[in-house]
């Protein structure tokens, strides 16, 4: 029996106290969850996706519940990088938890400029890494989504890579035929880690008004409903790349987190579940520790990818 298993993992050179991170867009700018969560205890915080300029986002309704899941069409409403730096990051500096900024853009140039700007202030403002959301449409290329094409993925990740020395996590979209080729492209382009999955595209219709339930028509599906798909993709990517993989999708209880870790995720991000149970991150950290003790596993890293096929 061990009494204090090691929960530390390293992702993209970022040292985490434990493998539990918050998923972008579901934890605000961190402060919103401070009444419920001791932010010091988290593995890392990933903030709401940021763009160069502030964004207004989509009209409401923006969220709708679906069976064991939800659709969202927030569309990156955010304060823009300058206000992030000025008004949001200072608060987070008092915690000794790595802060990772999720970045988005309409054009390649926006991504690059964002990465550069955040790199510039990283020391001072405590930006530990970047997570590149490549699920955004490329407005210059007829709104094709960057992350649905291996070449486009390579291009955007390598361009950002050149613009910053910050640890770079590429966040993959699941709406693709072959996640492995996209993962490879991101790895070759210089990503230090991959996180997946972002949301699946979905839709809901109000049968009385015969209108889409979301003003934006389509939205991103998240929550427990998508967990099996996410797990499959994480396992596929884990077998394909040599950089760490972060598992995301439908994690709401400790078993879910463990499934991802066993299938190859070195860390996990918790999204929608924060809305259901604001303390879920901490509870899962505690229960992972319990699982390790019960199973006599000294170091969580032993569990990563330990699936027996």
């Amino acid at each position: 029996m061990i009494d204090k298993p090691c929960l530390k993992v390293e992702i993209a050179g970022i040292k985490l106290k434990n493998p539990v991170m918050t998923a972008s867009g579901t934890f605000g700018y961190g402060q919103e969850y401070a009444p419920f969560v001791d932010l010091n205890r988290l593995g890392a915080m990933i903030l709401k996706g940021i763009t160069l300029k502030p964004k207004m986002g989509n009209p409401p309704p923006r969220v709708i519940e679906t069976p064991s899941g939800m659709l969202n069409a927030i569309s990156l409403q955010n304060v823009g990088v300058e206000i992030l730096i000025k008004e949001k990051l200072p608060y987070l500096k008092k915690f000794n938890t790595p802060v990772v900024i999720n970045i988005s853009g309409d054009t390649l140039e926006e991504y690059v400029e964002l990465a550069r700007r955040l790199g510039e202030v990283s020391k001072e403002m405590g930006v530990t890494g970047l997570e590149v959301n490549i699920s955004c449409p490329n407005v210059k290329k007829g709104r094709m989504v960057w992350g649905t094409d291996a070449k486009a993925t390579y291009k955007i990740v390598s361009s950002i890579r050149k613009a910053t020395t910050l640890p770079l996590i590429a966040k993959l979209t699941p709406n693709v035929t072959d996640i492995k080729t996209i993962a490879q492209a991101a790895e070759e382009a210089g990503a230090d880690a991959l996180s997946l999955i972002n949301t699946l595209v979905g839709m809901a219709v109000d049968v009385n008004s015969r209108r889409p339930k979301l003003a934006n028509v389509s939205g991103g599906l998240s929550g427990p409903a998508i967990k099996p798909v996410a797990l499959w993709m994480v396992w596929q990517v884990f077998q394909t790349v040599n950089i760490p993989v972060i598992g995301i999708g439908g994690i709401i209880k400790v078993e879910d987190a463990l499934e991802f870790i066993i299938a190859g995720a070195r860390a996990i991000e918790i999204g929608t579940a924060n809305f259901v149970n604001p303390r879920v991150t901490i509870e899962i950290i505690e229960e992972i520790e319990k699982y390790l003790i019960e199973n006599n596993i000294k170091d969580i890293n032993e569990l990563v990818g330990s699936i027996k096929i």
Partner: protein, 270 residues
């Protein structure tokens, strides 16, 4: 501060067709709660439905440390909530939101509720009367059976008027007719507070603008987090830019920037 706690269900009553009144032991929340705030509730014991449901705080009993919710069972979440047993622990977050702002100098208060929109207004009425205001309440409902709380308001000492769409009780027509009537009769409130369907709120804001009466409305939008993190629950709000020379629009969060907004700020048409 918003708390996430488990609170005991003390009583549950069906006070109208599919309308339930639940009393909760929640001293920490009762202590802090303001009229117009809400709690975010996990309706079932498992994760189905997945998301919490927002319900206004209907009454606040600081002495006993109790709060009340009044709600209509419309979908899966509220139906499951209506079935929760007395003595059960309910997982709630709250109190959330800005609440209604009663100005110290206001003397006359008009409260207008449509349908289940009356829910947050009882606490407001109670507080207004406690502060020594003169309070009138207008209640609108589809039909007689759906009128909720008429007596509760009267007991507090407010003058209550009712309108039903089908004329099955008191004034036949809209609650906004009553509001126009009272203004015509010369009862000019210093503040109007309203909660109910969007169409009603919009009309009330028009009336209040015409009559130059300050008006606050409580809005609803579908919510996920309920605490300002997801940006799911927004409504379009007119703001002025720094130089105050240009109107801007912004999506504000109903959960923490609202649910109460100044009537004239709200953009109704999209």
């Amino acid at each position: 501060m918003i708390l996430n706690i488990k609170v005991k269900i003390l009583s549950r009553k069906e006070v109208g067709p599919n309308i339930y009144l639940i009393r909760l032991k929640a001293p920490e929340i009762a202590q802090d709660a303001l009229p117009g705030q809400f709690i975010h509730i996990k309706c079932s014991k498992d994760n189905y439905p997945l998301l919490r449901r927002p319900l206004s705080i209907h009454r606040i009993d600081k002495e006993k440390g109790e709060i009340f919710i009044l709600f209509q069972a419309v979908g899966d979440g509220t139906k499951l909530l209506a079935q929760r047993e007395i003595g059960d622990d309910l997982d709630i977050m709250g109190p959330i939101g800005n609440g209604f702002n009663i100005y110290p100098k206001s003397r006359k208060i008009m409260i207008v509720g449509g349908g289940i929109g009356v829910a947050p207004l009882l606490a407001l009425c109670e507080e207004s009367i406690r502060q020594g205001k003169e309070v009138r309440v207008l209640i609108g409902a589809l039909k007689k059976e759906l009128i909720i709380g008429e007596e509760s308001y009267k007991i507090l000492g407010a003058k209550v008027d009712v309108a039903t769409d089908d004329g099955s009780y008191k004034h036949k027509g809209l609650v906004t007719d009553l509001l126009e009537g009272s203004i015509r009769e010369g009862w000019l409130a210093d503040q109007i507070f309203a909660c109910g369907p969007k169409s009603m709120l919009k009309k009330i804001v028009e009336i209040s603008l015409d009559a130059h009466i300050d008006c606050q409305v409580s809005l609803e939008e579908r919510m996920a987090c309920g605490i300002g993190a997801c940006l799911g629950c927004v409504c379009k709000i007119k703001t002025k830019d720094k130089k105050e020379d240009k109107v801007k629009y912004e999506y504000k969060r109903v959960c923490v920037d609202g649910p109460v907004f100044g009537g004239s700020e709200v953009v109704w048409d999209d």
